[in-house]
């Protein structure tokens, strides 16, 4: 079953009198439990597509549905859809430096509506799932790159989102740690039946994919 359906997505930026079209009619589906990689050179529109699929940007045209429900362009609606359905993992980890590992996960749970001891318990379970429960009290500055990305994955899994989106998740990691992270990510997505889309430059990421999408000049290649 498709948890995410994108049809004929376009995105055009206006800078002064000049228009730049970044996406030109992208259509794709993501299914529960499926791992998909999106590859393409710099400037091909990968990150823009990821932001639209993650409800951070609204498209200039086309139709996006998540869990069979249409996504509207209003920022409050986008935020609500993001909160319910999307988990992000970023290249730069983007953990809160003033919160320890447990609090980083717990805060995401709080934002998604889970509060109190239940949130703490769930955060511990998520850290356990990524093998970092013993580092729960560490601040991000005291964690290695791989450990930070594990915390970020645990945070992305908060409240069981239907869609996980990862932007170059191994770009700041050495290849051995990167491979471990990808395996972990894949296992968790499969076990929890989440759809996982990984945007990458790195051809090695392909090894975990059920399907590979290529994007060039704002169009998906068949």
């Amino acid at each position: 079953m498709a948890v995410l359906e994108a049809r004929d997505i376009t995105k055009t930026y206006q800078e002064g009198v000049q228009e730049t079209t970044v996406l030109r009619g992208v259509s794709m589906d993501l299914h529960a439990g499926e791992v998909v990689t999106l590859e393409g050179p710099s400037g091909s529109g990968k990150t823009t597509l990821l932001q639209i699929l993650g409800c951070i940007l609204s498209p200039s045209g086309g139709d996006l549905r998540i869990q069979q429900k249409p996504v509207e362009g209003r920022s409050s609606h986008l935020a609500a859809v993001r909160r319910r359905n999307i988990g992000f993992v970023f290249q730069q980890f983007n953990l809160f430096p003033s919160l320890n590992a447990l609090e980083n996960v717990q805060y995401a749970l709080n934002l998604k509506g889970l509060k109190g001891p239940a949130a703490k318990q769930e955060a511990r379970a998520l850290l356990d799932a990524v093998g970092l429960l013993d580092r729960a009290g560490y601040l991000p500055r005291d964690l290695s790159g791989g450990q930070k990305q594990r915390v970020a994955i645990a945070r992305a899994l908060a409240c069981k989102p239907a869609v996980l989106l990862a932007d170059e998740p191994t770009a700041n990691l050495d290849s051995a740690v990167g491979a471990q992270i990808l395996e972990l990510f894949r296992d968790l997505a499969k076990r929890e039946n989440r759809a996982l889309l990984v945007v990458t430059h790195d051809p090695k990421v392909r090894s975990i994919a059920d399907r590979v999408l290529q994007i060039h000049d704002g169009r998906l290649r068949p």
Binding site: T47, I56, A79, R83, F90, Q106, N110, L111, A119, R155
Partner: protein, 375 residues
Amino acid sequence: MVDLALKILLHDKLRFTITVAGVAFAVALVLSQVGLFFGLLSNATLTIRHANADLWVTSHNTPNVDFAHQFPETYVNRVRSVPGVARAGNLIVTFMNITLPNGAEEGGVFYALEDFGAWNLPWTVKEGDIQDLRRGEFIFLDESAKRRLGDFATGDYREVQHNRLRIAGVSQEAKSFTTTPVSFIDFRRAQEMNPDLLKGNTSYILVKLAPGADAAAVKAELHRRLPFNDVYTSNEWATKSEAYWIKNTGIGLNAFLAVFLGVLVGVVVVAQTLYTSTMEHIKEFGTVKAIGGSNADIYRILARQATIAAVLGFLLGLGLAFAQKPAVEAMNLKLIMPASTISVVAVGTLLLCLASAMVSFRKVANVDPGLVFRS
């Protein structure tokens, strides 16, 4: 609930300290200036508020209790004849020169009554018996006068208006707005010492109402019988005296400017530090949005930071203001900070800190969550 607001504040302790110190400085400045203002004003009306009189009869257009004008002392008989008046007495308030042992002269404001005890003046006697003033050439000086007159003790002599008077006792807390020393002397003695101005005259008539008497009715009747005088209740007279000093000395403007300055410093410091902090953590706010937070979630973070700065800054500022009290009192001044003023400053601090945070609200309202994808 994870307190991201507090964690971000405490993550940069130096900035947090500067923010709280800025608020504390502003609060201490406002409280001490307003406290001094109230302290000075209270000095202007101390004698009015302590005198055991319900009504004051003054000459027409007397601006405040210290700047008295004279009228015939026999008017007191007309006052005594008004129904509802239990008793009435003449009071002279006048300036006279006091010669110091070194030959220099200092001005003094003298309160002269026939029966000090009946009118509760002075209200605190440290040494001596106030009734001794009626026995001869005596004077009561207030302890606060030592700053201007030098040290003195009961039994010493001082020359007033070229009359040698013996200090019969010492009062406390009797001060004037102008810091001119307040002294007490017998009514007839005062008239003898300055006959050109005071012979047959008085400055005020103090009135004590009979139990159950209608103050407004008595006041109206007094005004009818003394058409060239003014009649005030104690509160009205105190308010009029205070208003004179506020309007004519700039003390009101000074207090207003000090409060304005304190508010300005507080707002600028809080707005500046919160804004800088917001800009430094802008990517974190973008992350909050990217992982599902709304603008309201970020507003709550900023509002909580402003509230924490306001509460801690206020408490520290309040402590600083109270710590100044002994030093201020050593200068013969008073710092009066009633609970109502402290409450107003507390609420004002919170509101202004929240208003300062609104500068940052505008910035984060437009945060693009997409910035979390940029390196």
